[in-house]
């Protein structure tokens, strides 16, 4: 694992290693690991990392929070850490204090909408909301006739139809039927649904990159153990080349995701350059999840296809994360439109902007 000199990441990695070791989790059919892990993460202030002290959080920087999500990806942890962080971040944009406990953000799909009704209540049916079933509160971006608002909603007031994504994590349909929010405030001017989705997309990109790092790791290790035709399979050139390609996909995902995270963390405005970074990360990481995940499975042979093996914890989640906060083709269309609207001669200056 990459050495970290970041205290937030170190703390998180220690908790993950102690309480969310993938092998232990994989053998625990009753999910008994979830509660202690969440407790430890909460005690360390990690779910509310992006919430300032005065709003009930631990006030970590955006950069530290992103690094934390990359680490969470390396462990492919299945508790709503990213979701709660995003929800806390969204609420903080409107200076709404975060409550304790699990949260998630909605909508999580760029085509979905939550409407702010004239009477101040919220309505809408949104799909693919990660961990809605586990959440006690929702952070909601809603649209009314005066523009966007940010609301804190009691999850108990909503109708949640549970679903599972391909990674076996909750991905639910949430219906708000004239639900009165606990708090609602106008969103700051710069914050719209696109920006919220891209923030979620970058979070997912970092998680995918982390999962790919781990897939590379366990695949290399396995290839050095498994013997076929009287050789370690790592000695076959075809296997080596597959692993070299996996390394490339993993590296590309990490580069795109960390660069986007850095761009957002150091941005003064959410301009086209930041948009390029964030959208590209989601597109490229989704592609890497597909290509890299396939190779990791190929190298593992049948054993990696079993539910007992930990590979699926990374591979299926990475595949599932592609769909949250906009799929790669969604962002590709949007990015393509942006590039076309700026014109051919502005493409290179955009790419070479930092």
């Amino acid at each position: 694992m990459a050495e970290s000199d970041n205290i937030v990441v170190e703390t998180a990695e220690k908790i993950f290693a102690d309480l969310a070791d993938p092998q232990t989790i994989n053998n625990d059919k009753k999910d008994a690991w979830k509660a202690p892990l969440w407790r430890a993460l909460s005690e360390a202030g990690l779910p509310l990392a992006w919430v300032p002290d005065d709003l009930g959080g631990s006030g970590a920087s955006l950069a530290d929070g992103f690094a934390l999500l990359n680490a969470a990806g390396r462990f492919a942890i299945a508790v709503p850490l990213a979701e709660t962080m995003l929800a806390g971040w969204l609420l903080a944009q409107a200076k709404i204090a975060s409550p304790e406990g699990e949260m998630t953000v909605l909508p999580a799909n760029p085509k979905d909408r939550i409407t702010l009704n004239p009477d101040g209540s919220l309505s809408g049916r949104v799909r693919g909301v990660p961990f809605a079933k586990a959440a006690k509160h929702f952070a909601v971006l809603a649209h009314g006739k005066d523009g966007a608002s940010i609301a804190l909603v009691d999850a108990g007031k909503a109708k949640v139809e549970a679903g599972l994504n391909v990674g076996y994590d909750n991905s639910d349909v949430v219906t708000l039927d004239k639900v009165a929010p606990i708090t609602i405030k106008p969103a700051p001017k710069h914050l719209d649904q696109t920006m919220m989705m891209l923030m979620g997309g970058v979070a997912r990109s970092l998680q995918i990159a982390g999962a790919l790092e781990s897939m590379l790791d366990i695949s290399v290790r396995y290839s050095n153990e498994r013997v076929a035709f009287e050789k370690k399979i790592s000695k076959f050139q075809a296997v080596q080349h597959n692993l070299a390609k996996l390394a490339g996909e993993s590296a590309a995902a990490l580069a795109a995701a960390t660069s986007a995270a850095d761009a957002i963390a150091s941005a003064t405005a959410f301009n086209d350059e930041v948009y390029l970074e964030a959208a590209s990360a989601k597109i490229r990481c989704a592609e890497a999840a597909e290509k890299g995940g396939a190779i990791a499975h190929q190298v593992h042979g049948a054993i990696g296809f079993t539910i007992e093996h930990i590979l699926h914890r990374y591979s299926l989640r990475a595949l599932a994360w592609r769909d949250d906060f906009g799929s790669e083709s969604y962002w590709a269309v949007e990015l393509g439109k942006l590039v076309a609207a700026r014109g051919a001669d502005e493409l290179w200056p955009l790419v070479a902007s930092r």
Partner: protein
């Protein structure tokens, strides 16, 4: 745990942005005076000596080298910016690019002082063109099979044999080549090769151009017959060239030239689809831009590692592998998307002409400078598989 591949998000400092503006202004001037046409990648005029000298005057060749050799002691990141702007503009850099990227740094490391003082400043002024003499008819990927002999004689060596695929040998002033000075040993089949500085346009050396499938002549066969090289033109350790080769690779393999060679078709596609593209075109462009952006971030990151004094051989190989596969696929993707471009697009002909050339160029991209297979071998070694 395996080798942690780090591609930290290196940012180009403000200095680089100033430099970028200067380079862009310079290139615009050069286009205006008709030195080159950025829309014609297949032009014949890739070697333009005056252009080379003007780039030298600006101080953009040997930009990272010590001042006493004519260099400018600027950073790898600044070099990066110059390279990518030139590449994207399709500037005719053939004459100085190899010397700037590779040959100069080799001389800096291994040449005797008087040779450095003689040659490096002339490279920096854009006066010299270099070629790389590695490949031979029976030695490409397997460099250590090279057979061209350097036999000891009074005050130097006599060279006999043939180099092949030598880019720019027909216009080069010098070549840095490896020759066999002794046989490989049982323990080390890489032993026995030595790196030499070869003066071109001398008796005993014959350059035969080889046509390429693009219709151009850029690489050559170079035949040596009792060609004399003096002792002070030996670069580094006799029989030890293999030790010197690897550190050269990071410079050769990670730069923007390793994913931008066919870039021009992407710009033209964006121009052709106009401001309001259909969904299919938008998606195609969006994906290609995301991929390009990602590779550039990786490549800048490697430039940052070089600046920090590291030798990121594996990372550089990853950039070249992904980068060249991408620049090879690019014209095919653009061609596919161009099927939807309106007949009336103003640059339709330019795009078609460019595609024709880029598609012919594509096969070489994953071969030159080390094949995809060889690169993946290096990456596999870095992962601890070999």
């Amino acid at each position: 745990m395996t080798a942690a591949l780090r591609f930290d998000p290196i940012r180009l400092p403000p200095k680089c942005e100033e430099l970028r503006k200067e380079v862009r202004a310079f290139l615009a001037e050069e286009m205006a005076r008709g030195t080159f046409n950025p829309f014609k990648p297949n032009r014949e005029d890739t070697d333009v000596p005056e252009f080379s000298r003007r780039v030298g005057e600006r101080g953009w060749i040997g930009i990272t080298w010590p001042k006493k050799y004519g260099g400018h002691e600027r950073s790898f990141l600044e070099r990066y910016v110059v390279t990518e702007e030139m590449r994207v503009a399709n500037a005719p850099t053939r004459r100085f690019f190899v010397a700037d990227r590779q040959s100069g740094p080799v001389l800096l490391k291994y040449a005797p002082e008087h040779i450095k003082m003689d040659i490096l400043p002339r490279i920096c002024r854009g006066e010299l063109c270099f070629a790389i003499g590695m490949s031979e008819p029976n030695s490409g990927s397997d460099l250590f099979a090279a057979k061209t002999r350097a036999t000891r004689t009074d005050g130097g060596y006599l060279i006999n044999g043939t180099k092949i695929w030598t880019s720019s040998a027909h216009i080069a002033d010098y070549m840095i080549a490896i020759f066999r000075t002794s046989q490989p040993t049982k323990e080390n089949r890489r032993h026995g090769l030595t790196q030499f500085l070869v003066k071109m346009k001398q008796p005993g050396i014959e350059v035969n151009p080889i046509g390429q499938i693009t219709g151009q002549y850029e690489f050559n066969e170079v035949v040596f017959t009792d060609y004399f090289i003096p002792d002070d033109h030996v670069l580094g350790e006799v029989d030890g060239a293999w030790k010197q080769a690897t550190s050269e690779l990071a410079y050769e393999r990670s730069g923007p030239e390793r994913f931008l060679e066919t870039y021009y078709v992407l710009t033209e596609l964006v121009r052709a689809v106009g401001n309001d593209p259909d969904t299919r075109s938008a998606e195609g462009i969006g994906r290609l831009v995301a991929q390009l952006h990602t590779m550039r971030r990786m490549s800048v990151s490697v430039a940052g590692m070089l600046q920090a004094g590291k030798e990121p051989v594996v990372e550089a190989s990853i950039v070249k592998d992904i980068g060249t596969v991408w620049e090879q696929q690019l014209p095919h993707r653009v061609r596919d998307l161009a099927a939807f471009v309106e007949e009336t697009a103003s640059n339709r002909e330019t795009l078609e002409r460019q595609l024709d050339f880029a598609i012919k160029t594509a096969p070489k991209l994953t071969i030159q400078g080390g094949t995809t297979e060889v690169l993946r071998g290096i990456i596999a070694r870095g992962l601890g598989l070999r």
